[in-house]
Amino acid sequence: MTGTGGPDAPAIAVDGLWQVFGDGARPALSELLKPGAATTDGVARRLKEQGLIPAVQDASFTVKEGELFVIMGLSGSGKSTLIRCMSRLVEPTSGSVLMAGEDILAASKRRMIELRRDKLGMVFQHFGLFPHMSVVDNVAFPIKMKGVGLKERRARAMEVIELVGLGGREDAYPRELSGGQRQRVGIARSLAVNPDVWFLDEPFSALDPLIRRQLQDEFLNIQATLRKSIVFITHDIGEALKLADRIAIMRDGVIVQIGTPSEIVLNPVDDYVREFSRDIPKGRHMTLEALMEPVDVAPDRGGPELRTAMTLDDALSACALTFEPMAVRDGEGRVVGLLHPEALARAVGEAQST
């Protein structure tokens, strides 16, 4: 968990958010949502019967200050729609989205523009770079919208360009960059106005696996220094577990579970979630806290120091280091070799992750 920083007041609070597509969605939904009406499932079924598409159904969650909140789901699960509701790129049908206490769904057009100029940043799956602008102009664009002069905005843009490691490429055009570099520009642009809330819509999905891992690590580094409140969309459970403070799992427009990575892996609420974490090596995400027998006093036998936050893999290898290599015997009891437990532990880990 993120632990120390900031008060526990939520940076974002989403409550009862619905996004229904189709003609006459709004009156149909408000009719169905009258007090004492059906469950979420019931409402969704009725909407579908009317030929409407409930893309997001009754989503409620909070994102804490400085928290990295990941929304995970398969394509068509409504996760992209949800983040577009929160950034008001699409107009939600019902519900509320509070940011620092302000309901942005009630904000006027003018106010929305102000919010976007000062408080919100967004990164897109296919980068969404402006093809006719150089890197520095792309990055400086949100600052330009604020009416900042050329010199000042270039200076600020150069800062973020350095931050994402693109220094020296500022005069290139998007078509001259590789995928990874393009997304660096996208990230830089979204950070240009130093927003409080950072939306990332599958930012690494369009990249090669190697570049993806590299950018994930750099992203974590940036977040470690900037500590934004983040909503991050992905369809990749590995990415979600690696990055998230908390994860919300979506299916068919419904959030089915919200929890920390180890909660998701250890206590999936249903088969859908279990199916996701099935191929995930538990040793890598499960911590000792979930495994240990809770006692107050334990006998001190020396050996490695164990912590609750240690993953099983780490604990296994820590313990293994202290053991002596052991003899391996054949069928008749003769010693035929030595096994190093460390090698064993590593082998177990590898077998699980493939």
Binding site: L89, I113, D118, G128, L129, H132, F141, M145, G186, R189
Partner: protein
């Protein structure tokens, strides 16, 4: 038909039902014609004098807005005079230098050379002043068209409610023949070059509007969202992000707009020129000075190519060429103009190709003298054996003078008997639809397109609409054609239908074959491709010149001109459809052991069918566009009506005939699109 159960089982598909219905109506007409002539020819009592009504209605309206329009005309006159003065009084060295510089900037050495030699040719042809006058019209009308088009495109994009309406209007504007624009404008603005200017501004706006709309719609949604999330206002999003992102597509619009304007400016010469190049072509054509008119036509072609290639380069990803060279070329031409001003001859006095024109005249004269009989034979064969029967039917076209014998009723009976037998054989083989269609075809050739009973035509088109896409289209087509019927322009519409139909059919067969050839042979495409490019760049007007040279005024020349212009899309789309079959489908067929021809027949052709149908659609629209221009060299039909209306400044006739033409084009367009759509759906595309 539900009561007749054997019938319903035999007619188990839409196609069969429709064909059977049309055959039935045709039979009815054939039998009833002698007793009920109103079945064949629409009674003139029931004709609604639409032309007169429109003339009166619009006349009153025009009188109202005329002062304002005259004022606009006066203002535009200034702009035009200024552009004219600028282009004509600028020394030709500088104009050529500027063009070369622009060419360099857009496409390097190749484009610079094109500009340089192109304009040098214009200079040497002796048509420099005329060309600059034409260019001045283009330079004033195109910015107007671009502004207008951009505004319309943005409006359609921004206001979802008007988008459908705007698109419908753009569709309509594309099908209304060019001449038809001129008559109302003539009334509003009076004779003079300003009419040509405004006509070309109006005519050139739709392609711009279309491309602006298309470009804006095609901007990636994430780019638009990124602009929103950057906190841009709607205006900032549109002008700083979306329009610039759509620039490539918009440049395609600029290119098309330029070409349309050039084409229209030249056509506008028919209302009385003012010493421009289109007028020169028309004048020399009328005087039968084919050498001169050929030369002037070449100048237009050179202009068209230079403008097209240069503006086309705008729409392509191109590398940047040094601006230093651009400045050097401009400075050099300025210096040359100043230093050599006493040595350089006046542009108006140059004419190196007068001899060439005379030689062309001479050789064409010689050629037609020597091969005149051959040319006449070609023309007469086509006329007597193909066009005439199609137009007035075998029973009227077969005369001792044409075929060497007189057609008799017994022969008709024989033709029908053979047709019925063939149809029966086909039906017995399970190809009932084909049999019925064959029967219809025989009926049409026997009767002649222009003498078809109106009720037969309406039912036939209605049935086609129904098969192609359903009741709505069927009703739309019949309704629109019904308008032509009651307007009294029916006979002329059928004449137009016959000529364009014959040309389209020829284009389909010939163009399809050429497209197929180009698809299988790289060498063939290497030859056909530049020819197609060339034919598509040439303004419509110019197609008439060579046809006139060899076949004189008449329907056959018009027929050839239409084919020359309208065949290009058929070739292009056929080839494109055939060569773009996905590689994995071909590999699958190859690994199944198919030969090249089997692949062509079984895989490529079916896959290409929707594309080829779209090509046919384009060919039809092109044919209608050319049909009107061809009225200049003697066709009857709607084109001639529009032309007559122009001469008489009869706005009612001009508009009704123009609308009738547009209706024909629209109906044909929708029918073919319907079939293409159905094929696409069947292929899951």
């Amino acid at each position: 038909m539900s009561g007749l159960s054997p019938l319903t089982t035999a007619l188990d598909s839409k196609g069969k039902q429709a064909a059977a219905l049309v055959v039935f109506v045709g039979l009815l007409c054939l039998l009833a014609a002698p007793y009920a002539p109103w079945l064949v020819a629409w009674p003139s009592v029931l004709t609604v004098p639409m032309s007169e009504w429109i003339s009166q209605g619009l006349g009153a309206f025009f009188d109202l807005i005329k002062p304002a329009m005259r004022w606009v005309s006066w203002v535009l006159g200034f702009g035009m005079a200024a552009a004219n003065w600028l282009l004509v009084s600028t020394p030709w060295v500088v104009v050529i230098g500027m063009t070369t510089a622009v060419g360099w900037y857009l496409g390097g050495l190749k484009m610079a050379a094109l500009g340089f030699f192109g304009l040098l040719f214009v200079l040497a042809s002796g048509y420099w002043v005329e060309s600059m006058n034409t260019l001045a019209l283009v330079f004033v009308s195109v910015p107007l068209a671009l502004l207008l088009g951009t505004a319309i495109g943005i409006l359609a994009y921004e206001v979802a409610r008007v988008k459908k309406a705007v698109e419908a209007v753009l569709d309509l504007m594309q099908t209304i023949p060019t001449f038809a624009y001129l008559t109302p404008l003539l009334l509003l603005f009076g004779f003079g070059p300003v009419v040509g200017l405004i006509a070309s501004a109006i005519y050139a706006a739709p392609p711009m509007a279309r491309n602006v709309l298309l470009g804006l719609e095609r901007v990636e949604s994430e780019i638009k969202e990124a602009a929103v999330m950057s906190g841009g206002t709607r205006a900032q999003q549109l002008f700083l992000v979306e329009l610039p992102s759509a620039m490539t597509q918009i440049m395609v619009g600029v290119n098309q707009s330029l070409m349309a304007a050039l084409s229209m400016v030249i056509i506008a010469a028919v209302i009385g020129g003012f010493n421009d190049i289109g007028w020169e072509v028309l004048l020399t054509m009328r005087k039968a000075q084919f050498g001169q008119s050929f030369l002037a036509g070449l100048v237009i072609v050179v202009f068209a190519i230079v403008i097209d290639r240069m503006s086309g380069a705008l729409a392509q990803e191109r590398r940047r060429y040094s601006t230093r060279v651009v400045w050097w070329i401009i400075v050099a031409s300025l210096v040359a103009a100043v230093v050599l001003r006493d040595i350089l001859p006046d542009a108006g006095t140059l004419s190196y190709f007068g001899g060439v024109a005379d030689a062309v005249d001479q050789s064409v004269g010689d050629f037609t003298r020597v091969y005149g009989t051959t040319l006449d034979t070609v023309k007469n064969t086509a006329m007597f054996y193909v066009l005439l029967p199609l137009r007035i039917g075998l029973d009227d076209a077969v005369l001792p003078f044409t075929w060497g014998f007189q057609w008799t009723a017994a022969m008709s009976a024989w033709v029908y008997a053979i047709g019925v037998t063939l149809a029966a054989v086909l039906a017995w083989q399970g190809r009932l639809t084909l049999g019925l269609c064959l029967l219809l075809l025989i009926g049409v050739i026997e009767t002649g397109v222009t003498q078809l009973p109106w009720i037969f035509v309406l039912v036939g088109v209605g049935a086609l609409g129904w098969v192609s896409s359903g009741w709505r289209l069927s009703v739309l087509c019949v309704g629109l054609l019904g308008l032509i019927l009651i307007s009294g322009l029916w006979d002329r519409a059928l004449l137009s239908l016959y000529l364009s139909g014959a040309a389209v059919f020829t284009c389909a067969v010939l163009g399809g074959a050429l497209g197929l050839w180009a698809a299988v042979s790289r060498t063939a495409w290497a030859v056909i491709h530049p020819v197609c490019d060339m034919l598509q760049t040439i303004p419509l007007f110019v197609f008439l010149i060579p046809m006139l040279m060899f076949f004189q005024i008449g329907e056959f020349s018009a027929f050839l001109a239409i084919i020359a212009y309208a065949i290009v899309p058929m070739i292009r789309y056929t080839r494109h459809g055939l060569v773009t079959t996905p590689e994995d489908m071909i590999e699958a067929a190859t690994s199944s052991g198919a030969t090249n021809w089997q692949i062509m027949r079984e895989v490529r052709a079916p896959y290409a069918a929707p594309t080829i149908l779209l090509g046919l659609n384009q060919t039809i629209l092109y044919a209608f566009a050319m049909l009107v221009i061809a009225a200049l060299i003697g066709t009857t039909g709607l084109g001639q009506s529009i032309y007559i209306a122009l001469g008489r400044a009869d706005v009612g006739l001009g508009i009704t005939a123009g609308a009738a033409m547009a209706i024909l084009a629209l109906v044909a367009d929708r029918l073919v699109q319907g079939f293409a759509e159905e094929r696409r759906k069947a292929l899951g595309l």
